[in-house]
């Protein structure tokens, strides 16, 4: 019985986290965009407008559900659920701290990668079901984009997995710090099992993973349909893209999924490349900084700080770079990112065989 209680508790706390994170990050995004453009952003609702997103969600909850007369009712109603659930389930496999993971899976990386691909299906359902030319165009673009960018993102992930030799996200985490069970070497040479800190992160264990991380980051922006890859939404040409026809809570769930996806890809990237919940502070001589800053509380703290920094970078990029054209999007994916990611993959294999092996 207690068993099930914990299941529900875990599910509710993940949902609560996503909801709170979305509210805070929408506010942060509005403020960051405002400051970048020399504006103030929301200022009227509460001190410095901090209640703005709460007011927005209250408004969205009260709104009417409108289903267009010619829409495919089943697809239209199901789409937001599928979009949100796909991202929500992705969080299940991601570890938060040593010993703290919602569901222990030895195929975690594969699972997360597979389940977030389902979002493309939900988006296509939303676009098709709306029976609106803008929605359909947005959905088709989105699917083309997500399917294409899964290639470089997959290569980048595999090159990290080859270095850590596991698909279990928690094992990948353990092997990037002082709790490592395997031999870990800084730049493949210097043993850092005792030192830990940022020296033990995957990007520093094998420096080509830094390139792989940049590829992962760029491709992950495309995966979550964020600017400069926001062609599926493209307000200036497609109104709202695939979610043009959505109102009220359904729209809120699509929005929630978008922000949850941002955090999810940030968290996956941090886990695979930037040490996950491991501390960036190394042990220096008798100063046991790494040992002292490893633990459940510290794990959550480091993971949150890293992820929020990555999310902030995503926002910063959104408000700087203009949107890519469809052909530029595909050129970048197939002619630049995919070959470089493939090169990273090959280097990873050689690294494992020749340097570490």
């Amino acid at each position: 019985m207690n068993f099930y209680l914990i299941y529900f508790l875990v599910a509710i706390s993940i949902f609560g986290f996503i909801a709170v994170f979305s509210l805070v990050s929408v506010y942060a995004e509005r403020k960051i965009s405002a400051f970048i453009q020399d504006r103030l952003g929301p200022m009227e609702t509460g001190k410095f407008g901090w209640l703005q997103t709460a007011a927005d969600i209250l408004k969205l909850i009260q709104k009417e559900y409108i289903v267009p007369a010619l829409a495919d009712k089943v697809l239209f109603t199901l789409a937001p659920v599928i979009i949100f659930v796909a991202v929500y389930l992705g969080f299940v496999a991601l570890p938060w701290a040593p010993g703290l993971v919602p569901a222990h899976m030895n195929l975690g990386v594969f699972y997360v990668f597979a389940i977030i691909s389902i979002e493309a299906l939900g988006i296509l359902m939303a676009g098709w079901g709306s029976n609106n030319k803008y929605s359909l165009l947005g959905a088709v673009r989105s699917v083309a984009q997500m399917v294409s960018y899964e290639i470089p993102i997959g290569f980048a992930i595999i090159s990290a997995v080859m270095i850590s030799q596991s698909l279990d996200l928690q094992v990948i985490n353990y092997n990037q710090g002082v709790l490592a069970t395997e031999q870990i070497r800084f730049f493949g040479v210097y043993n850092v099992n005792k030192i830990g800190g940022f020296l033990a992160w995957n990007v520093f264990q094998a420096p080509h993973l830094l390139v792989a991380y940049v590829i992962y980051f760029i491709a992950s922006l495309a995966e979550c349909n964020r600017a400069p890859f926001d062609l599926p939404e493209a307000e200036s040409e497609l109104i709202g893209g695939f979610h043009t026809e959505y109102t009220g809570l359904r729209f809120a769930f699509i929005f929630l999924a978008e922000y949850a996806m941002m955090f999810l890809v940030a968290m996956l990237g941090v886990t695979l490349f930037l040490g996950g919940w491991n501390t960036p502070l190394p042990n220096i001589g008798s100063l046991h900084l790494a040992d002292d800053t490893t633990g459940v509380f510290w794990g959550i703290f480091w993971l949150m700080s890293k992820c929020l920094l990555v999310v902030a970078a995503q926002m910063w990029i959104r408000w700087t770079l203009p949107r890519l054209r469809v052909d530029q999007l595909m050129t970048l994916c197939w002619k630049v990112l995919t070959p470089i990611a493939f090169a990273c993959l090959v280097i990873s294999g050689l690294w494992r065989l020749l340097i570490v092996g």
Partner: protein, 196 residues
């Protein structure tokens, strides 16, 4: 390809550092200053927003905003209504039986104005009426923030007379004119009688 990718990253970083500079500069706001102030153009960075109802930019002294008429100084000459390019001023006048009084600059008032309407919804804020006014009773005020719930509220009524007063003045004028007519007729009759 490598060169292209590298160039892409380089230019992206250029843009990103520019936005980061603005993000950093957002710690302070530009002060709300009028353009006449000496250091107006010194403020190059920082948040540019003027939080309008709470903060207001100073208005220039000769700005052209809402119209106002000082009825005590108006001699009802109708010049403003004639020069108005959009016909937004509507004046009705009644001749007084005698001089009513003087304006503050010494002009004699001989006309009553039962109606002096300016439709600010039509007004194009050219300011011509203020330049032709001989007594400078029609002026533009620094007031620019005016919103109403019904468009007819934008038709400003400046006349100070009530309808009853206007009717009384009309009757007086008619009576005087009738008397004058009678006097004229009497004089004419007398002339004819003298000729015979």
């Amino acid at each position: 390809m490598i060169k292209e990718a590298f160039n892409g990253l380089k230019t992206a970083w250029k843009g990103l550092s520019l936005t980061l500079q603005h993000f950093g500069a957002a710690r302070q706001s530009k002060k709300v200053k009028g353009i006449k102030e000496a250091d107006y153009f010194e403020q190059q960075s920082g948040i540019a927003t003027v939080q309008y109802p709470h903060q207001q930019l100073p208005v220039p002294e000769v700005g052209r905003y809402q119209l106002f008429v000082e009825m005590d100084d108006c001699i009802v000459c109708d010049l403003c209504a004639k020069i108005c390019p959009v016909n937004c001023i509507d004046i009705e006048s009644i001749k007084a039986t005698d001089a009513i009084g003087k304006t503050s600059d010494g002009s004699v008032k001989r006309l009553y104005a039962p109606k002096f309407d300016i439709d600010m919804a039509k007004c194009m804020y050219c300011g011509l009426c203020t330049t032709v006014c001989p007594t400078e009773c029609i002026t533009m005020t620094p007031e620019y923030d005016k919103s109403v719930t019904h468009i007819s509220d934008l038709n400003y009524k400046f006349a100070t007379m009530t309808e009853a007063e206007a009717e009384e003045k009309r009757l007086e004028l008619e009576k005087q004119q009738a008397e004058r007519q009678a006097a004229k007729l009497a004089a004419l009759k007398k002339m004819e009688a003298d000729k015979k």
